[in-house]
């Protein structure tokens, strides 16, 4: 934990915020001693609830760019500068760091299925290694994003609905040092997740295309 915080500071010189999702170990103390600001949630809100807390913190403190990465050591802070550079180069609102070698067959299948369903062609859609710009942070800090559960397709669909652009950048990652993927751990969890996300897709389907039409209409 402390290593990750120090790594991010060394790699980017950015201010670091650690969101503790009601964890009871000394995550918060370690992160503080490593130089991060720490927000401790009073009850478990899940992966996205914690990430959104960071978005709201960023807006409150007027940060213009937000980098997110998991604190379990799977994302390398050294990758952050290249993500930032990619964002600057392409002008995309969101850049997702993906690691295609890590993708299991199940995940590949899932990503193909969701691509068909939503038209969002992101391979590693659950990757938490991401860069968000000001516009993306504004959308994601809003009430509309508060009922999402994971930092995944729901987030991407919401961004697309608001006319923001997404990019993927291949990066290097390690296997998780503690615990496996929360989502792709057992078949039951996968089934649950797929069903949940499919419903989410159906709730969102078409809205993105309509929004895009509306923006081109306004521009014309």
């Amino acid at each position: 934990m402390a290593e990750v915080v120090r790594g991010v500071i060394a790699a980017t010189g950015a201010d670091v915020l650690v969101v503790s999702d009601a964890s009871e170990d000394d995550t918060a103390r370690l992160a503080r001693s490593a130089g991060a600001a720490v927000v401790e949630l009073p009850c478990r809100l899940g992966a996205w609830g914690a990430a959104q807390t960071g978005m709201r913190y960023a807006r409150r403190h007027r940060y213009t760019t937000v980098l997110t990465l998991d604190a379990d050591g799977q994302h390398h802070p050294q990758e952050l500068p290249s993500l930032l550079a990619e964002q600057r180069r392409t002008g995309a609102s969101v850049v997702i760091g993906t690691y295609s070698e890590r993708l299991s067959a199940a995940k590949r299948l899932a990503s193909r299925y969701f691509h068909l369903l939503t038209g969002i062609g992101v391979q590693d859609f659950t990757s938490g290694l991401r860069v968000y710009d000001r516009h993306a942070v504004r959308v994601l800090a809003s009430r509309h994003a508060s009922l999402l559960d994971y930092q995944d397709l729901g987030v991407l669909m919401l961004l697309r609905k608001n006319g923001l652009t997404l990019r993927e950048l291949p990066t290097v990652m390690s296997p998780r040092s503690q615990g496996g993927s929360r989502v792709f751990s057992s078949w039951r969890m996968v089934a649950r997740y797929m069903l949940h996300t499919t419903v989410l897709c159906f709730a969102q389907i078409g809205t993105g295309r309509r929004a895009r039409l509306a923006t081109t209409g306004a521009a014309a």
Binding site: V19, D26, A28, R29, R32, S33, A37, V38, V39, E40, L41, P42, C43, L45, G49, Q52, T53, R56, Y57, R60, R143, S146, L147
Partner: protein, 137 residues
């Protein structure tokens, strides 16, 4: 006639219970209105069962007694939908409140300039200070 007395008794009891709860302010605003309407409908149908037969004739439904049951189930479904909508809204509020609380707590720690952690790791404020902070007593 006995059947009418039975249904009348049941409906008066149900409507009475609802009225009592509304009067005791256990049901809030729009909920109270909804339940008063339910109590009214129960009273009307329970005390005057012929109303059901009349409704059956009006709607051309052969077996009239199914009518209140069908309408009742429909109303229950609508009510449950409304409950889930309310629950989602509340979940959203709770999540946002928890986030705001945690962010504000972090700012308090920062303002105090201490490395003291909020939550259970921080030393509790001196007991004597609590009443003054809370503005009570």
């Amino acid at each position: 006639m006995t059947a009418q007395i039975t249904s009348g008794l049941i409906s008066v009891l149900l409507a009475g219970a609802i009225l009592y709860l509304v009067r005791r302010d256990h049901l809030h605003g729009s909920y109270a209105l909804w339940w008063l309407a339910v109590a009214g409908a129960i009273l009307l149908l329970g005390v005057f069962p012929p109303v059901i037969d009349w409704l059956g004739r009006v709607t051309a439904i052969n077996y009239a007694p199914i009518l209140p049951i069908g309408i009742g189930i429909g109303m229950i479904l609508i009510r449950m939908l409304k409950m889930d909508i309310d629950r989602s809204r509340r979940e959203r509020q709770i999540r946002r409140l928890a986030q705001k609380l945690a962010i504000l707590e972090q700012e308090i720690v920062e303002l105090r300039g201490g490395s003291a952690a909020p939550g259970d790791t921080s030393p509790p404020p001196a007991p004597a200070e609590l009443p003054r902070i809370a503005g009570r007593r």
